[in-house]
């Protein structure tokens, strides 16, 4: 088979989308470490439902890039076995709505492998899946259920919101000796391409990323909502309000130190996420900030989230996704509270 991967890879000086960054990271990881294997439905010949794995099979062969049957339960079990035997499987689930079939394996085995074997085994697997609404797809292709995974001790949950963070975090996730749920905001797959250097540099998995420095209010978000949150920060700047924007990115474990420090600086906080409100991570973050920074808060922490319903069909999608206006309204409440 032809093994020249340079023609299938975006050049380093070109603008790269989040989707291409994911693809680049997998190319990089597979060429650096022969134990890395990619598997999933249509990931090989077809290059993945969104073409995230395009070119991998040509480059690394069918033994390392494996087209699986349509059976997520089996995929969940398979990657745990591969990981336990020293491989580093990266499994793609086509849509987040299909991930639940693998839940039993994730919760009962992958997450507990290290604990259950008293540290003798670990589970260095990555489960990749697109997440979120906004691409005119049905509800089981549009959900944001990251909190379900964040609730499980032993799983890392990582959600990049830019090409650079997708690249650096996916490489770090593949390196990590424990299971990582890597959720890619589908709505951002092709938006806002950025120049990216394919240098193999990892980003830390245990930290937030401060996207915009500010002094009046802290806007906390992750995933696709980072896009609207940054727009809201721009709108606030036009009114002379200096907003700090933090992409949580690693939603489990949470980098509460960074969030606390920022909120102690600004005294005001709005949390934005596309997941439904009840049991969403916004509540977890708000509770932690109240525990740590109550005496520095100037206003109650505001949450901007989707309502407690499944994602609607696409005509109503824009009402479901937190909008810039929703965020600005919450900022208004926080800024004018007292």
């Amino acid at each position: 088979m032809a093994n020249d991967l340079s023609t299938d890879k975006p050049a380093v000086d070109k603008k790269v989308s989040l989707l291409e960054a994911v693809n680049l990271a997998m190319h990089r990881a597979m060429s650096e470490d022969e134990n890395v294997a990619v598997l999933g439905e249509d990931v090989g010949v077809n290059g993945g439902v969104f073409r995230a794995t395009q070119g991998l099979r040509d480059t690394f062969g069918f033994k390392r890039v494996i087209d699986s049957p349509l059976a997520e339960t089996m995929l969940g079990g398979l990657v745990i076995g591969m990981a336990a035997q020293g491989l580093k499987p990266v499994v793609e689930i086509q849509f987040m709505g299909f991930i639940y079939a693998a839940m039993e394996h994730l919760v009962s085995h992958a997450a507990r492998m290290r604990n259950r074997t008293r540290g003798r085994l670990s589970c260095p697997m990555v489960m990749r899946s697109p997440m979120g609404a906004g691409i005119r797809a049905p509800e089981h292709h549009s959900e944001s259920t990251e909190a379900m995974f964040a609730h499980v001790p032993g799983l890392r949950v990582v959600i990049p919101s830019s090409p650079a963070r997708a690249y650096g975090l996916l490489l770090a996730a593949i390196d990590d000796p424990d299971p990582v749920i890597f959720l890619e905001p589908t709505r951002l797959y092709r938006m806002n391409p950025q120049t990216l250097v394919d240098d193999g540099k990892r980003l830390p998995l245990d930290t937030c990323f401060t996207l915009r420095e500010g002094s009046d209010i802290t806007l906390i978000s992750w995933g696709a909502s980072v896009h609207e949150t940054l727009q809201a920060a721009n709108a606030l700047a036009e009114h002379g309000v200096s907003a700090e924007v933090i992409d949580v990115a690693c939603v489990k474990p949470l980098d509460l130190d960074t969030l606390e420090a920022s909120v102690r600086k600004t005294g005001r906080c709005v949390i934005v996420h596309e997941a439904p409100r009840s049991g969403g991570l916004g509540g977890e973050i708000a509770a932690s900030l109240y525990e740590r920074a109550l005496l520095d808060l100037q206003a109650p922490i505001q949450r901007v989230t989707a309502p407690d319903i499944p994602p609607p069909l696409y005509r109503l999608e824009q009402l479901y996704i937190p909008s810039v206006e929703d965020i600005l309204h919450a900022c208004d409440t926080a800024l004018n509270y007292a």
């Binding site: 023609t7 073409r51 996207l211 992409d247």
Partner: protein
Amino acid sequence: MKYFKLPDLGEGLQEAEIVEWHVKAGDTVKADQLVVSVETAKAIVDIPAPYDGVVAKVYGGDGDILHVGEPLMAFEGEGDAGTVVGRLEGGGSSQDDQFFVGAAPSTREHLSARATPAVRQLARQLGVDLNALSGSGSDGLITRADVENASQAERDKFGGEKLRGVRRSMALNMAKSHAEVVPVTIFGDADLHRWGAARDPLIRIGKAMAAACRVEPVLNSWFDGKSLSIKHHEKLDLGIAVDTPDGLFVPVLRDVGNRHAADLKEGLNCLRADVKARSIPPKEMMGATITLSNFGTLFGRYANPIVVLPQVAIIGAGGIRQEPVAMDGQVVIHPILPLSLTFDHRAVTGGEAARFFKALVEELEKPEST
């Protein structure tokens, strides 16, 4: 790129070996043009191009085995974008993605004061800036003692003696009035040549003020700036500023308009004695409706006395002096009483004040009643 995959060659054959490529990357091909020859278990098959295009890449070299459905060659151009459902939008903002790993530099530098609400309240009362303190509590928490120490240190830095009692209330009340009242002062003189020899003007000024209040009752009012409300008084309760070594006392002489001069004089002497002995009950210093400052007995001519809230007017009486005045075309020497009226222009108009002042002077210039 668009991919042309190894087609089903019939007869259930699943793989083929490449015999020879007839095109290479970069070639332009036409539909149905021969691109590759492959050998199956049955025969050598020539595979034509499916459509016009430019070859971007060929997969596999001579002798390689390909399976049905695997990419055979790639054409340049926009390929299949994937996604069987949904639509991925491109573009978006052209904002550069720049970020700090972890906290922003200003967040790291920022060390805001941490204190409980009660300590914050104490700091506000004592005028202590919490951000200037470093807390001695756990994790930099500012304690009550930290605030008290800072406040003490601030006082020690200035030194001096702490104001107490009457001087303290004077400082507070005067500052409050100065901050709130909109003062206007009118000056004028009363010619006292019709008076007899005995000249204790205080009671007469008081009686004259009562007469002037009948002309312009608004001067005898209390005003509340917060609710913008005014309260008129029937009786004149005159606050009389009394100078003492301990500070300014203002005892109140009640119902000046309706009492006889002798009665008033006796009351006044009583108040003065009480002030001097520091035995005046607090209620005797409350409820004045206008104040009179008779500073002229010490020195001075005109003044801008401070209106004491909630009153709206204060009269300043200067020292009586012999002055040449023009009378019937002649220069004569008369005793002249210089007067100042300061009023709160929020509650009283200039016209009301001037009419009040005119009535006051006319009353004073009458002969002494017996």
